[in-house]
Symmetry: C2
């Protein structure tokens, strides 16, 4: 069955949902009667296209088809998932949900992006409440993985599981909120900070810029990777959580927050915040800020991917899912020609001050290709865990053409020589669309026993696989440049 999502409302949040579904191969129907809806959705999509694929180390599915619909009926009738992202008014949400249910399939799931309403409130007046749930995402929806999935007693376990599986498949961390509550979990925490922040500004303790610095130079760095409790567990030192609570528990009785009270949002206070925010961020357009934010988010998540921690662990699991869905470069059947060992896109973090891919990332791409070639011949992660691997001893790279942001890349690899203890690879890095050669990498690898720290013959399976490939690759012409030294400049 063709996967179709309907997005009702195409603002910042609705547009983010559009992008997440579309870039994961879903067809997306948008219904938003606003005059500038198409432009707004396209702008969010442009941001998403340059950043979301940079989280993956495998190929993303082909983009789905985007359709702007003239009626709500046209948008929802063939959709399996319908996401409602209209303004935060319960009467409006009731009206839209009723219209959706009039036209959608009875087994479609309707997710609401509501920040605060409980699912049981949204389900009021509905003849089929079991298909409505809260699916509350976070801006930018195409990058931030969290989505709070909040069912009520009217939703079956089966529907909840189906929703979780589907949201996971589009790269989200579907956090099941087991007990419905106003504002769910994250927004309760955010609301507490927001109210305290408003007091600090109203009382002239700090400006918006000072509050932001107190966050991003301090606890914000911690919270990108561990939350409140794991951070405090460490702060408690060897005695852990109980010690920490013992030490800081008494502060609960102290007047460390103003939150027994709520500041009145006068025109004066709104103006003060807007002025301070202009002074802090006004030198950047919203579009610039979005790109800075997105590049940072990608980098911050990729750091954790390298560490296999938190959001990074999730991204690796998501890569696995994507790899199962899309033809993988590691599933090689034809070895008569150079083997495709890498396909991907140039990440923002790979670009240097000249606007080109930094030279070290040529080798990074080559080493990813080498890792894949190793997997193809059976020297995979299990093999390494069993104590043997290949180490690169020599590398010769030729930078033939410039590589720019978001360019698609493909590496094809020819085995130009091999032996029991060695393999000699020649990677050709292409632009796959034009077929233009961008760089070559010639690499000599030594097979090593990791415990002894010495070279040793590869396992039989690996040696055999290398021999099979080499029997074919040795009939190919030597690649241009193979075996060459660097020539002097004069």
């Amino acid at each position: 069955m063709k996967k179709i999502a309907a997005c009702i409302g195409g603002g910042v949040i609705g547009g983010g949902w559009v992008a997440r579904f579309l870039l994961h191969g879903w067809g997306v129907n948008v219904f938003d009667p606003a005059a500038d809806a198409v432009r707004k959705v396209e702008e969010v999509l442009a941001n998403a296209r340059r950043s979301l694929p940079a989280l993956a180390d495998v190929a993303m599915p082909e983009e789905g088809k985007l359709v702007f619909c003239d009626s709500l009926e046209a948008a929802v009738s063939d959709a399996q998932w319908i996401q409602e992202s209209v303004p935060e008014r319960l009467d409006l949400k009731h009206k839209i949900l009723a219209q959706i249910q009039q036209f959608c399939a009875v087994n479609a799931i309707i997710g609401s992006s509501t920040s605060g309403f409980k699912p049981s409130e949204l389900q009021q007046q509905s003849a089929n409440p079991g298909q409505i749930m809260v699916a509350h995402p976070f801006n930018p929806v195409y990058l931030v993985p969290l989505v709070e999935l909040v069912p009520s007693a009217s939703n079956t376990t089966e529907t909840v599981t189906k929703a979780q599986t589907l949201l996971t498949a589009i790269g989200m961390k579907a956090l099941l909120v087991r007990k419905e509550i106003d504002a769910h979990i994250a927004d309760r925490l955010l609301e507490a900070v927001w109210r305290e922040g408003l007091w600090l500004i109203k009382d002239d303790i700090a400006t918006t810029a000072e509050i932001d610095d107190a966050i991003r130079f301090g606890f914000g760095l911690r919270w990108a990777q561990m939350g409140l409790f794991e951070t405090y567990r460490i702060a408690g030192g060897e005695a852990g959580m109980a010690h920490f609570i013992g030490q800081f528990g008494p502060a609960l009785a102290w007047p460390w927050t103003k939150l027994m009270d709520v500041p009145e949002l006068t025109d004066e206070l709104v103006q003060k915040i807007a002025d301070q925010s202009d002074a802090q961020s006004g030198m950047h357009s919203i579009r610039e800020l979005e790109r800075i934010r997105d590049d940072n988010l990608v980098g911050i998540m990729r750091v954790q991917k390298d560490a296999n921690w938190g959001v990074g662990e999730m991204l690796k699991e998501h890569d696995q899912r994507l790899a199962e869905q899309t033809p993988s470069s590691v599933q090689v059947t034809d070895t008569s020609l150079p083997i495709s060992t890498y396909t991907g896109k140039v990440f923002p973090a790979w670009i240097d001050y000249n606007g080109h891919m930094n030279e070290a990332n040529y080798l990074h791409v080559m080493s990813l290709a080498t890792d894949n070639f190793m997997k193809i011949v059976g020297a995979d992660s299990d093999y390494v865990e069993n104590g043997q691997s290949y180490f690169t001893v020599e590398t010769h790279i030729r930078h033939i053409d410039e590589i720019k942001l978001s360019e698609r890349l493909e590496v094809k690899t020819q085995l130009i020589a091999q032996g029991p203890k060695k393999m000699h690879l020649f990677h050709s890095l292409y632009h796959p669309d034009s077929g233009k050669l961008l760089a070559t990498g010639e690499h000599l690898l030594l097979h090593v026993d990791l415990k002894l720290g010495k070279s040793c013959p590869a396992g039989e399976v690996v040696q055999n696989k290398l021999a099979v490939i080499f029997a074919q690759h040795c009939k190919l012409p030597q690649p241009e440049g193979a075996g060459n030294a660097i020539k002097g400049p004069l």
Copy 2:
């Protein structure tokens, strides 16, 4: 004058201060009568030594001398900065501050690590209140840059400026809190979240693990780089802050937090939190969690350094300061021998699954050395901004020995050939202590006009500097391996 800091209290926070001062070249006197103080400080120091230098791209100063003192008098008498990090009881802080002031220099600055007390409270009973201030840091103190500097009316502007300069010099973001208030700024926000979190646990809405996931998969990722207000400014879309407040302002009147009330910290609630925290994080020791956290923090901050944003902009400024203090590899006077173009330590993020430096980072180090060589010959960032640069066209790396975490590295560079449009460099990567050769990199670079995207002769100054160096380097023997091709494996 020799820089001496005294740290009174050597727990998690005190030990973090010790590490930050020591690794920035300060002598540090510690006074902590606890039996295990030496062990605890040494453990924090071990964490700091493996992570803090990974934030810098220039050499850190030589570590200062660490002295554990038998008396408070011995610790503070010759110190210019005294940091008090004793438990959070006002009577105890008054007692310790009085003892410090009995023995310290009148112009020394006394910083208190207090999370909550106002400076005017700490200054009560003091004959010299002007030397006492709040300098509230965040765990881990050796990595998280934020320190809230809170003066009272008793502190002169001169003292405040001196304190800010000093804290900046040890790599901190000294946020001046202009108006004293209980819990300063960051802890007010944290306290609000903490109280809300306790309610969520008490009411069985969420576990510690679920709350942490709601943070680190969601807004925590945003807050590592932008704070509350800049994030919301973007969320408001093109209409910005005022639109956002207009949209979410009404929620202030809704019951989205429990913070009008404070949960009672019963034994039962403490046990519940401790049990949930064990289930969430108990598979890792505190030491493991610390290292995971520190590696992530380094990575998250380095991402922003690449983007020259927030904490990363600060780190770059700090590099500048460090470079001015320590002999820079770029200030070259003797060019008769290969030139030292890089000194540094192996970062955690450079280590692969085998526990060795990843092959791409050999080239990364080589390219940092090339950047420095370019600066030495006058092809610096101004030169690039004026539209010309060198691009690497060919690279030959030999991986001679394994490189492990935290190893010190040095690159020496020989100019083996040059011409108006080209330079041919040979980098030798050494372990500077043992003199062991770890890798070599041979690189051919082409001088280009960035606007035309074509090669062109270098500027006269650059050509002359290259000629001067080459006149000496051409008399040196060709480095072993220069000009070689990769030999086949059989």
